[in-house]
Subunit: 273 residues, 2 copies
DNA sequence: CTGTTTTATTGATTTAAATCAATTAATCGG
DNA sequence: CCGATTAATTGATTTAAATCAATAAAACAG
């Protein structure tokens, strides 16, 4: 299969220096294993030919590299094809708040300040592990949606889901203690990753690759890495979880769900009626 | 003008017992002063005739009354026409987390768990002051959007904006101390109310009606009302704000913005390119 | 493989905010 | 207008998590 080489490639590379062109044959939208959970979820198959032209190409973002910083001009929007990305914001006091964990199929980069082509991202984005991205030019999104309402509906549905996750994130930070909040986060990510695997590639399991450092966990829920460490050790002593080598094993799902007040229903994909 | 009496009226009233039928002549969508910021923002005027038929009617919700509880079957979605509504969630330990402050023009009630007509709201909704609501049947939303993509685009845009507000809310709760977080919340609501007034009815001012109790403030940002009180008193002693009789006056906007790390840009309405 | 950097771990101490406890001030229903 | 309920205020005490500090262990680059 020929590797599509977008005319905008060199411009894009200048603007997003950490992106690398995808060398492997790129996945066509029509053949995409995660399409049903992603931006094009509602687009009829016969329309995918021309909607794919909207897509720029697939690119690689190496582990721990920044995709964009807050304020960067938002030329592109993204669907994560493979990997793990965090969206975050750095405060004046230097502290970092992780806003969202982006998993395969998730759409991001559409939140901007300002209007028109010069608008800037409201947040930064960074890969936790080597990731593959589907890149779309932001300025074509509206006209695409006008031609293909299923795209706008898909976007609204994904937005609804993201909003619900964000609100749960808020509850964890605002009204749960460290133990409850950490239990909830571990379960949320565990379930999301596992659901991802079911819909895409692998089998269910009680163990997932978990590339967060303890500092990442703390920055997600408003704790120091020192305190995160103490709570994780406690949960390990109680044989509820096991963490080692960027791998997380859930040993006692039921107890953990009680502690974190986690309901798997929140993870399920959302539909507008 | 005749008062439209929906065929679904009596069913609706059984289901949402606190809603009262609007006695005053109801505002037609075409004449709505806040339409440009609301759900029908992008819908061309010539289409508003048939899109309004989608709307059920306007209803009154008295002050401090609950519109729906978490888990209630989500028959309707809402645009707040006038008033002030909070969305919240009650945790197992009885604590309440306010998720979102709904101001005129804002759309809510679309976040549900489950699929199809029997899905339930993910959160509760309650009026802070007597409020007027535009009520839409939830089950017609998707077909409406398929016929009128501007509706889906408007929904996606509003979702993007709400998401950004939620993320700022998260930052306040996760990574700011009580003083910073309260300063931010006061400014956010002050700016949102003032923007509302500019686009709809009144003049700019340094003072707004502010119907939150100190407990409401605490439940929004994860503090006790006792601590909220101490911080508010401190800000008053420093002549930065003045609170009295459900009215908030911002005396020193600049200093307050510095304390809260508040950027008015976040309040501006969002557009997809 | 090896030195270097990053991340994890654990103890001692401090602190911001919670909790407990009264009182005072507002607001509301009749 | 008036008793009753709800909300605000203030002090004393406790506590969950932060901060400070020092290794130990892992991951990484050359």
């Amino acid at each position: 299969m020929a590797i599509p080489q977008s005319e905008e490639f060199s411009i894009l590379m200048n603007k997003r220096p950490n992106l690398q062109q995808c060398v492997d044959p790129q996945t066509e939208c029509i053949a995409c294993p995660i399409r049903k959970m992603a931006l094009f979820r509602g687009v009829p198959e016969e329309e995918l030919g021309w909607t794919q032209k909207f897509r720029d190409a697939q690119y690689l973002l190496p582990a721990r590299k920044t995709l964009y910083q807050e304020g960067d001009i938002a030329h592109s929007i993204y669907t994560l094809f493979d990997g793990w990305v965090i969206l975050f914001k750095i405060l004046d006091n230097g502290k970092r708040q992780i806003l969202r964990f982006v998993l395969p199929g998730d759409f991001f980069g559409f939140q901007v300040n300002g209007t028109g082509a010069g608008a800037g991202y409201t947040h930064g984005a960074q890969a936790l592990v080597a990731s593959t991205l589907c890149v779309f030019p932001r300025t074509r999104l509206r006209s695409m949606m006008e031609k293909q309402p299923q795209l706008a509906i898909g976007l609204a549905e994904m937005g609804m889901h993201d909003m619900t996750l964000c609100q749960h994130h808020l509850i964890g930070t605002g009204r749960k203690n460290a133990r409850e909040s950490i239990a909830f986060l571990l379960l949320e990510l565990f379930y999301r990753v596992r659901m991802q695997m079911q819909n895409g590639f692998n089998e269910a399991t009680d163990s997932i690759i978990f590339p967060l450092t303890q500092e990442d966990i703390g920055d997600a829920i408003g704790l120091t890495s020192v305190h995160v460490n103490r709570v994780l050790k406690e949960l390990e002593r109680e044989k509820l979880i096991h963490c080692q080598r960027k791998r997380l094993t859930i040993l006692d799902e039921e107890t953990l769900m009680e502690i974190g007040q986690f309901d798997p229903g929140m993870i399920e994909p959302k539909e507008l009626v």
